[in-house]
């Protein structure tokens, strides 16, 4: 940067300190400008915008569920059993007379919460393992072989078995899905870190004697983050579907608590006479996942053009 050469040429202490301050201010301004630019490009990207709006709607619904739900989601009402959708019950009622709309709202809350936790845990664990593998060379082989082994289990099968072993609960689902999605995330982080590690600025930081922690956090991770963010958006999307699968199979949060997957499981038993029980929660999942996929596609286009697989 222009400021740094000027700073080297100065000999007087005072002038050097002065220029260091102006350099810092300059860098902060540049950073703000870049952030603003990124924001403008994100908002200008149609699929990102639509996706983000859908996600925002879902977050709002999840937070406000107790306020906007028209009925108690777990209260049986035998006067209105298996009622089709109507003005009174928009999504109909189930075999216990419970309002499906209210259950779906509360279920959305559970699904989003679990998926968000999975995203956070996967992000932390994936970053740790991916950085460890690429930064500490001797560990690379062991860590990556272990992760390869985990990835050899097809799809959500490992999560199903883990959840079965640990017993049905929301915590179980978070653990099982984190174990399932961490390997690929760690891989993404690792390949990003390997690229950045070879950069000259990392070498420069090592040359001026920066510690490992500083090099990893300030220089390597800060520059290897964008593929991780894109990856985590897709982990979010897949987690919502996977959570629904686990709940559907009966290894999710146990009833009577509503989760989108176990409402669909209820609906399966009444598929002959009450299509609405299964149809609405699934449609809600599809829209949420579509939003996240749109967001992920947009993010990938903008912050990580190398990774995109379509034009």
């Amino acid at each position: 940067m222009a400021g740094s050469t000027r700073g080297c040429a100065m000999t007087a202490d005072l002038a050097a300190a002065d220029s260091a301050i102006s350099l810092r201010a300059e860098m902060a301004r540049a950073r703000r400008r870049r952030a603003l630019q990124l924001l403008r490009r994100l908002v200008g990207h149609p699929s990102f915008l639509v996706g983000a709006l859908i996600l925002a709607l879902f977050v709002a619904v999840a937070v406000l569920a107790p306020l906007i739900a028209p009925y108690d989601p777990n209260k049986n009402n035998y006067r209105y059993v298996l009622m089709p959708p109507s003005a009174q019950f928009w999504f109909g009622t189930d075999a216990y007379g419970r309002d499906i709309l209210s259950r779906v709202l509360y279920g959305t809350r559970v699904s989003l919460l679990i998926s968000a936790l999975v995203v956070i845990c996967t992000g932390i664990l994936g970053t740790l393992l991916g950085t460890l593998a690429s930064y500490v060379r001797p560990l690379d082989g062991i860590v990556m072989r272990g992760l390869d082994g985990l990835m050899a289990f097809p799809g959500v099968l490992l999560a199903i078995a883990l959840a079965a072993a640990l017993g049905p609960s929301a915590t179980t689902v978070v653990i099982a899905l984190t174990v399932t999605f961490t390997p690929r995330t760690a891989r993404v982080v690792r390949s990003g870190v390997i690229v950045v590690q070879g950069m000259q600025y990392v070498e420069a930081a090592q040359a001026v004697g920066a510690g490992h922690a500083r090099i990893i956090l300030r220089y390597i991770l800060a520059n290897a983050l964008s593929p991780l963010i894109v990856q985590l958006t897709f982990v979010f999307a897949v987690s919502i579907i996977a959570e629904a699968i686990l709940s559907f199979l009966g290894v999710g949060p146990p009833p009577p608590a509503a989760s989108l997957g176990n409402i669909i499981a209820d609906g399966r038993s009444y598929i002959q006479e009450a299509w609405w029980i299964a149809v609405f929660p699934g449609a809600v999942i599809a829209v949420a996942v579509l939003g996240l996929n749109l967001m992920g596609d947009g993010l990938r286009d903008i912050i990580d053009p190398r990774q995109r697989n379509e034009r």
Binding site: A152, F248, A278, E310
Partner: protein, 315 residues
Amino acid sequence: MILFVARRLLSAIPVLFVVSLMTFLIMWLVPGDISAEIGGADATPAQIEQIRQQFGLDRPLLERAVQWYGNLLHGNLGYSYLLDRSVVAAVFERLPVTLPLAALGLVLATLMGTLLGILAAVRHNSWLDQSAMVAALIGLSIPDFWFGLVLVILFGVTLGWLPTGGYVSFTDDFFGWVRCMTLPTLTLAFTQMGVIARMTRSSMLDVLDQDYVRTARAKGMRRGTIIFKHALRNALVPIVTVVGLTAGVLLSGAVVIESVFSLPGVGRLIVGSIQRRDFPIIQGGLLVTAIVFVFVNLAVDILYGWLDPRVRDDR
């Protein structure tokens, strides 16, 4: 090529080792004493003690691991007291339902996905391209088990064209089998087609820009020849990668879909065993499915070498 195949085969060994180790450790995660649950509700204390000794639940983990691997190498995955038969027998008699379902889904998803992708790439930026990509994105976003239920409601309950579930073996009644498998296969294919279509499109777009495609066009070759012989052949490697990954998703998808359509495959077996807490079966079903997937990946790797000779020398 033979050397390449041999090397690939050897590289599967550490993966198989890790997979079997994980499967073993899952049993260790189960809280509490599982010998009573393995024995079932009406097991006597003596039987439970026998199970505890047989599974080595009273011995250190390492010793149990050695025993597990010893049994594994003899093709012994344990015994299910609840089903009163060996795990290997129980899992393998269910594979003829699960494997054809996953395979049919894969074939159909690949056919539809590549066709859609090629169409979209050839008519780049047209309405056809855009609607194909919207369809692909929707396919990606729909939970497959729910889509299966919607198909059941539509074609089974409302229209009554196809059975809502159940299974007949294809050796007994071929057309009955086709009717049972139609909806599950469509479910799997539609939800997986999107990934393949997107990859085909981007890979084809890359290739259609190349000089040799322009040359072929300049020579006045027919459009179909250019697309399928010049372009598709060179666009295949990334497509094959995605198809390989899809195979895994389909395998686990088949496991879930079986519960939707009441198909008596490995998935139904595993899910039923979860409710019965029949851990040997869960363990065995998981391991066998993972091993099938490892071999599918191996086949995909070998296919690379065949499609792209450079891969053979590289590694």
